[in-house]
């Protein structure tokens, strides 16, 4: 059943979120806010070496410290066979996950967990890890992706042989796999081109930098039953990964979702929970572990950095006839960078007849990468959208016009294979073309950049329940941690279907024992897939309410209509009964058959693709190399905005992360492979004074697969900004920055290269 935009009463409005008051008064409970009676404090000992063999671990001195109750190492975790599965936000090998949570045999990055301690206070735990003696045999390390690919580079895993290469290599290397996508004949296409642009772009790993560090409080009982309280993007993921890593069965673990202080993909896997459970098993007491900010930077997954080689061939009239993309993406210490999506997203916005894409997944001595908003897409799109801009300049053409000429539309075959249906990319170009922003004039050292982007969005498995309470209010139960206001949207969709005021619907994010399986929060899936489950649950409740009204009136259920939260006789032939409100029916539910409730499970497919076009104005201070963002407009196809304020918020947040990725954020390593900037002072994310207001313009091309037309919105916004900023800088001062971040020292160096400094004597 599809809901028509014109007649919606709740969806599309901007009510206050149901969990809002507790968040503004400081009462909402996040990961570190929980206490359990008798709990001990845990702390993780981390490797100071980028690459080393662990020769021995001696915890005797630590165990003798008064107040220390237990120490765990890899010996306390079961050996797991190498097992490939797609269980989280990307290809996942459980053996690798286990080794990442607690190093076994080797440490592979500065910050890799080696042991953990449980003690009576945080101070004692801190002192205790200083007393654990680890003997390391330091090995040569490699950090940079191209260095890791070179023959002779230190090899991290002696059982890693490049997949996707024939014949299979005889020697292990750091290249985990090579993938290709082909459309038409790129070589022939380039011969046909009148203008060819070939460039190399690079970016550095960046951290998701959620303000809340990882935290959990767990309790393992002697009967094997466990409770895990943690902030994560998915309590079912936490349950599954803990079960796998500790050899427990899933029903024995109750994973409770705390409020989560930001995730963006970085909390779609576990780091602390299995370690805390192992400590809890050993001590027989609850364990609380909270990461410090330094641990977050050293020990948890950033987004991949990499190299993007782009070649575009076009006719003088602007038609792109051939394109080539080579992506080399960092996976960190274990294989599994998002090289697939990186390859597929770079040219998704365009209709190009001949395309060749090659991607490499490369390991090196850095933390294992984790997902970060549209994983892989911002990386390759930085390259492709910068190159499209360079092509536009070579053709002396307006960059927006070049995109209009080559835009993908319904019926276009994408470079990665599928033929597009129901997409709104051209709509975003049209809105950008008509925008007031584009019409404004710029001053000296100011420039404007345009860039587009795409993300698939996903659907997947969700469960939801709708319970009618005896007083006619409704409780909606779902299983997705709320990272951006989604529970408000769930209540709004249910209220729309039930026809009752939004304030009479209360949403609850439940634990793994209290709602059916739900895939984690990520991939821009919750409003789409969980919203679908919630809508269907509410619809099933309405069917039941009509049946109950029919029973009360003693007529056929087919003769009952439901409108505005009431049952009406369908027509004069049905009988002349006064409408029955939901509250009235609820009061009689016992007599008419029992509680009125419905639970639905879905595996939502056909998530709507998301496209965006961004316009960015900058001013460059040539003396300092500082780039100021003057104005930013982000136009995005959102399908239907259930709660427009939260949709705008997703867009503004993603844009800001992209701006940080473009201008300042990067990991700085010393020559020993140790992280120099493991804190917010030197890992510089955007602050309020860096930015103007951000114009989020919502375009709605409904997705027919969702009852309200929803498309995922959260990830697309981070895809265009890096190229938008780089293109704006090029427009401002004529210098093309191809290596991110475009931090002041690098911009200054580039400016100096262009204009040698004047001598003092002049």
């Amino acid at each position: 059943m599809a809901y028509d935009g014109e007649s919606l009463k709740v969806v599309g409005t901007r009510p206050i979120r149901p969990d809002g008051v507790e968040k503004v008064i400081g009462r909402a409970n996040f990961g570190a806010d929980m206490v359990m009676a008798g709990m001990l404090w845990g702390k993780v000992l981390r490797s100071p070496h980028a690459h080393a063999r662990i020769k021995s671990i001696n915890a005797d001195k630590a165990l003798k410290l008064p107040g220390v109750k237990a120490v765990v190492t890899a010996a306390d975790f079961p050996e797991i066979a190498s097992e490939e599965a797609f269980m989280g936000e990307g290809p996942m090998n459980f053996r690798d996950l286990s080794y990442n949570c607690m190093a076994r045999g080797k440490v592979l990055y500065d910050g890799h967990a080696v042991a953990a301690v449980a003690a009576m206070s945080p101070a004692i735990a801190e002192e205790a890890i200083g007393l654990i003696e680890v003997e390391y045999e330091v090995l040569p390390h490699v950090i940079d992706v191209e260095d890791a690919m070179k023959p002779g580079a230190p090899v991290l895993h002696d059982d890693l042989f490049t997949q996707g290469v024939e014949p299979k290599p005889s020697a292990a290397s750091n290249v985990a796999k090579r993938i290709t996508f082909t459309k038409g004949d790129a070589e022939a296409g380039f011969k046909d081109a009148e203008v060819i642009i070939e460039r190399k772009y690079t970016s550095q790993p960046v951290h998701q930098a959620y303000i809340e560090p990882h935290a959990c409080v767990v309790s393992a009982g002697t009967d094997g039953q466990c409770t895990v309280w943690s902030s994560s993007q998915g309590q079912f993921m936490v349950r599954a990964y803990c079960a796998k890593l500790l050899g427990l069965d899933m029903a024995s673990i109750r994973a409770i979702p705390a409020e989560i202080g930001g995730g963006f993909g970085g909390k779609t896997l576990v780091y602390l929970e299995p370690v805390a459970l192992a400590l809890s098993q050993k001590t027989g007491r609850p364990i609380k572990i909270v990461m410090s900010r330094e641990e977050v930077f050293r020990g948890t997954g950033p987004a991949a950095g990499g190299v993007y080689e782009v070649k575009l061939g076009a006719k003088k009239d602007g038609r792109i006839v051939a394109a080539e993309l080579i992506v080399k993406l960092q996976a960190g210490a274990f294989p599994g960078s998002p090289v697939g999506p990186a390859c597929m997203c770079g040219f998704a916005m365009y209709d190009i007849p001949n395309v060749s894409i090659i991607g490499y997944d490369v390991v090196s001595n850095r933390p294992k990468v984790a997902a970060y908003r549209a994983p892989g897409a911002p990386n390759s799109t930085f390259g492709t959208e910068s190159c499209v801009d360079e092509l536009a300049r070579a053709l002396n053409m307006d960059p927006l016009r070049l995109r209009e000429i080559n835009a993908a539309r319904d019926g276009t075959k994408a470079a990665h294979g599928p033929t597009w249906a129901n997409i709104g990319y051209e709509n975003t170009l049209q809105v950008a073309r008509a925008s007031e922003h584009l019409a404004t004039k710029l001053g000296p050292n100011q420039g404007r950049g345009i860039a587009s982007g795409f993300w698939f969005n996903i659907g997947g498995e969700s469960s939801a329940a709708c319970h009618i309470n005896e007083d006619g209010t409704a409780t909606v139960v779902e299983g997705n941690p709320d990272i951006g206001g989604s529970r408000a949207s769930m209540a709004m969709m249910a209220a729309e279907v039930l026809g009752i005021p939004y304030e009479r619907v209360r949403p609850v994010v439940a634990d793994t024992a209290s709602i059916g399986f739900s895939f984690l929060t990520g991939g821009s899936r919750v409003t789409f897939a969980t919203g679908m489950a919630v809508t269907q649950a509410a619809e099933k409740v309405v069917v039941e309410l009509k049946k109950r009204a029919a029973m009360i009136w003693d007529i056929s259920p087919d003769a009952v209509d439901w409108r505005d939260g009431k049952a009406f006789p369908a027509g004069p032939n049905a009988g002349s009964f006064e409408p029955l409100s939901l509250a009235e029916i609820a009061l009689k539910s016992g007599r008419t058959g029992g509680p009125v409730s419905a639970e639905i499970t879905v595996n939502a497919q056909g998530a709507g693709a998301g496209f965006a076009t961004h316009i960015c104005d900058v001013e460059v201070d040539k003396e300092t190399g500082h780039v100021k963002i003057l104005r930013y407009t982000a136009v995005q196809d959102c399908g239907r905005a259930i709660h427009p304020s939260y949709v705008e918020g997703q867009i503004q947040g993603g844009v800001t992360q992209g701006i940080g990725w473009a201008l300042n954020e990067e990991y700085v390593y010393d020559k020993n492979g140790r992280l120099d900037n493991a804190g917010f002072l030197d890992y510089r994310i955007p602050v309020a004074s860096d930015l103007p207001m951000i114009d989020a313009v919502i375009v709605e091309v409904p997705n027919p697969r969702h009852p309200f037309g929803v498309r995922g919105v959260g990830e697309v916004p981070i895809v265009p900004p890096m190229a938008a900023v780089a293109n704006a800088v090029a427009d401002a001062i004529g210098i093309r920055m191809r290596d991110l971040p475009m931090s002041p020292p690098k911009l200054r160096a580039a400016i100096d290269d262009e204009e040698p400094p004047r001598l003092a004597a002049e």
Binding site: R373, F456, G522, Q605, R705
Partner: protein, 74 residues
Amino acid sequence: MSARRFTGGQTEFEVEANTVRRMIAELDRRFPGLGHQIDEGMAVAIDGEIFQDAYQAQLNPDSEIVLIPKIGGG
């Protein structure tokens, strides 16, 4: 992609099947091992819409089927 190693490099096929499950079974019959590869790591785009898992998804005559790597998100 890595699936090529099962098919000896062939990348386009014609298959008789009316659901995704039957299509996977047929491809696995022709290229042993490919079925598991598709099940674990690939999504199926049917006429442009992406299905990450849906054995029962219907295939129409002349449906365009594209196998792509499974997609996650952040």
